[in-house]
């Protein structure tokens, strides 16, 4: 009886002290961690909507977040979609910017990926992949060009495949097409507003 009581007391004490310690550490670091995450997104939005000074979240569901970017005067310059594709190894998190009419992709950036280094990981490189996304026309679905050709030879809705990384390239392309369809549908249903300076 004495032993079991001692076991209880010692373990509870250790647990209590640990809990208190972790609570204070969490209080101390939580704001910073949240602001790190926000900053990362903010930076990405500025990257994919040229000229953005401030961004605002206008729609959110699981793995699909929409931001709008505005300049100094509060004019909306475009929207950015942050979503994920099912890659070769793991999910590929990326963000891309559209104009306000949802007809053109400004650019696309990969935020986080774990594809094979040297092959699939090239989808995060501007030279091998991302440059082909600039200025794509998205009035119709995008298609992959395989084998890759010179940038000028691509049609307005074509993107080059990364050589040796067809699966990773295809994953992003398919996911972008899905995201485009979704955003157009959401816009038709009036689920978010692009214009106006609602709720800062």
């Amino acid at each position: 009886m004495r032993l079991s009581r001692r076991m209880l007391i010692v373990l509870s004490l250790i647990g209590l002290v640990s809990g208190a310690l972790l609570m204070s550490v969490n209080m101390f670091t939580k704001d910073r961690i949240a602001s790190n995450r926000k900053k990362e997104i903010e930076k990405a939005v500025i990257k994919v909507i040229p000229g953005t000074k401030s961004s605002l979240k206008i729609y959110e569901e699981k793995d699909f977040t929409v931001y709008k970017g505005r300049d100094d005067q509060g004019n909306v310059l475009g929207i950015a979609i942050n979503t994920a594709a099912g890659g070769f190894q793991d999910r590929i998190f990326y963000i891309f910017g559209l104009d306000t009419q949802l007809t053109r992709i400004n650019s696309l950036f990969v935020l986080d990926q774990k594809e094979t280094p040297g092959l699939g990981a090239k989808i995060a490189s501007a030279e091998a992949f991302l440059q082909f996304w600039e200025g794509r026309d998205v009035k119709q679905p995008l298609v992959l060009r395989k084998p890759a050709v010179k940038k000028d030879a691509l049609a307005q809705n074509e993107v080059n495949t990364v050589t040796g990384a067809t699966i990773s390239s295809r994953a992003i392309l398919a996911s972008v097409n899905v995201a485009l369809e979704k955003i157009k549908k959401l816009k038709q249903e009036g689920r978010f507003s692009i214009e106006g300076s609602d709720g800062d």
């Binding site: 032993l3 250790i14 640990s18 910073r32 094979t116 280094p117």
Partner: protein
């Protein structure tokens, strides 16, 4: 055991009982995160921090912990320090925290730390446990540094992100992939054993 000098207590972690090359403990994280030197340093420091803090605390309260619940107590203590290290990295070094991914929380089950708590800190004074943990941490960091340098130089042609190989060098991508980890670790252990044998033969 009590006849060991402080220096012997410290230095056994560097070579004779090195956690990576001799005890072969904590292999999972060792293999996984040594693909770049910066990851090796961050992981080494995180493990070192947790090991030193938990060894200190375990040896401090070793007489109060009933034998039957000692492992549970160690795990709670270790988990607390791991969470602190994890939060700290996420708050102040977000890119590192991202690169190390789940391997920081997994330090909780890293055998090196639980091993030191059970085999050493629970039986020795606070001072000796600190010296032991310090030695083990340095030994672990050095091993990670060697492994990650070899893998980063061969696998990416860089060290800490700076190019050190000329343009002629074609990176051996396999070295930053999991097989490269096994190859590099195997060779490192073989070299360590060979040196040990030579030293023994001579004496």
């Amino acid at each position: 055991m009590a006849t060991r000098t402080n220096w012997e207590e410290f230095s056994k972690g560097l070579w004779l009982d090195n956690p990576v090359s001799r005890q072969l403990l904590g292999m999972c994280s060792t293999l996984a995160i040594t693909n770049a030197v910066i990851n090796g340093i961050a992981m080494g420091l995180a493990v070192g921090f947790v090991m030193i803090c938990s060894s200190f605390l375990v040896s401090l309260i070793r007489k109060f912990i009933p034998n039957q619940v000692r492992i549970a107590s160690y795990i709670v203590i270790i988990a607390s320090f791991v969470t602190i290290a994890d939060r700290f990295l996420a708050a102040y070094f977000p890119p590192l925290s991202k690169a190390l991914g789940p391997y920081v929380p997994l330090i909780v089950v890293n055998c090196i730390i639980l091993g030191r708590a059970e085999a050493f800190a629970s039986k020795n004074t606070v001072g000796r446990s600190l010296i032991d943990a310090l030695g083990m941490s340095v030994g672990y960091i050095v091993a990670l540094l060697i492994l990650s340098s070899v893998r980063e130089i061969l696998g990416s042609g860089t060290i800490l992100g700076y190019g050190v190989m000329g343009d002629w060098f074609e990176p051996w991508i396999i070295m930053i992939l999991p097989p490269g980890a096994f190859i590099a670790l195997g060779i490192l252990i073989a070299i360590a054993f060979q040196i040990e044998r030579k030293v023994k033969q001579r004496s």
